[in-house]
Assembly symmetry: C2
Homo-oligomer: 162 residues x 2
């Protein structure tokens, strides 16, 4: 079974050679989603939300997918691929949560996004408080590293190459 | 540009004719993700997380995609498609957050999922507290309806057909 999608637009970021691991809200530069003009009417009311999910095709992968991953910031810990947010996945669909800064015509300007410039956009969904914000979520194996500082660095976005 | 994915497994739910709009944590029945056996090693450590994101292909759509949607529970409000969580999207990628109940071999048993039995699974990602739980998220246009009871009903899962 093959599932086929087409981009609904393109993501623009300042990142050409290196990109952070996760969205860096305060990062400098301009980040925006350029939707295909046909989809402009679909953006009505989107700016009433503070956060959105951005789904995209991680198109600049050069390494092979492995079922074990060892995030370099996590010391010697090796975990299963699906217990990680590694971009090297069987279906490389990226998922980032960012703030909406403004919506004008077919352009959504956002806070920092963790993707390369030119990344194909697959979907935009509103992040809705009760549905998506799980106050009782945990840190999983990351807690076991005993070094949450690494997670913080990770979230703050150490530049990297895929 | 065409982007092609293949399912990494199948989602099993009790829903054959009707499914709720959003995950219903307490719903009766068994909900599980059956991963392709090749991906079983990738599930290591996944059970250290309380919540996961489940990404899937919404394969049972019969209506046409429209850039305006009017969620029936939202009164007379019409909003842009991308300001909604409607399954009828240009790229019908579903995104649900569920609790992990257990992981055994290539099977992830979860709390209630809002999809039809047999839905093709695209990806599983850990939901990580600091990264994904936005305490300052809002309700967007849903707040404008002045009737949050409808949102609650929606989240609690009024059965529906696509």
């Amino acid at each position: 079974m093959q599932i086929t999608f087409q981009p609904i637009g393109t993501i623009h970021t300042p990142y050409r050679e290196k990109a952070p691991y996760q969205p860096v809200e305060s990062d400098e530069g301009t980040f925006f989603l350029e939707m295909s003009p046909d989809y402009e009417p679909g953006l009505k009311d989107l700016d009433t939300f503070k956060y959105i999910y951005v789904l995209y095709f991680i198109d600049r992968l050069v390494k092979e997918v492995s079922m074990d991953v060892a995030p370099f910031w996590a010391g010697e810990i090796e975990v299963g691929l699906f217990a990680s947010r590694s971009p090297l996945r069987p279906n490389p669909i990226g998922l980032s949560i960012v703030k909406i800064l403004k919506v004008e015509r077919n352009i959504i300007t956002t806070s920092g996004l963790d993707v390369f410039d030119g990344t194909p956009l697959l979907d935009v969904k509103p992040y809705i408080k009760d549905l998506d914000s799980k106050a009782d979520a945990n840190y999983g194996w990351v807690d076991k590293t005993g070094d949450m500082r690494h997670l913080a660095l990770h979230i703050l976005g150490i530049p990297h190459e895929y």
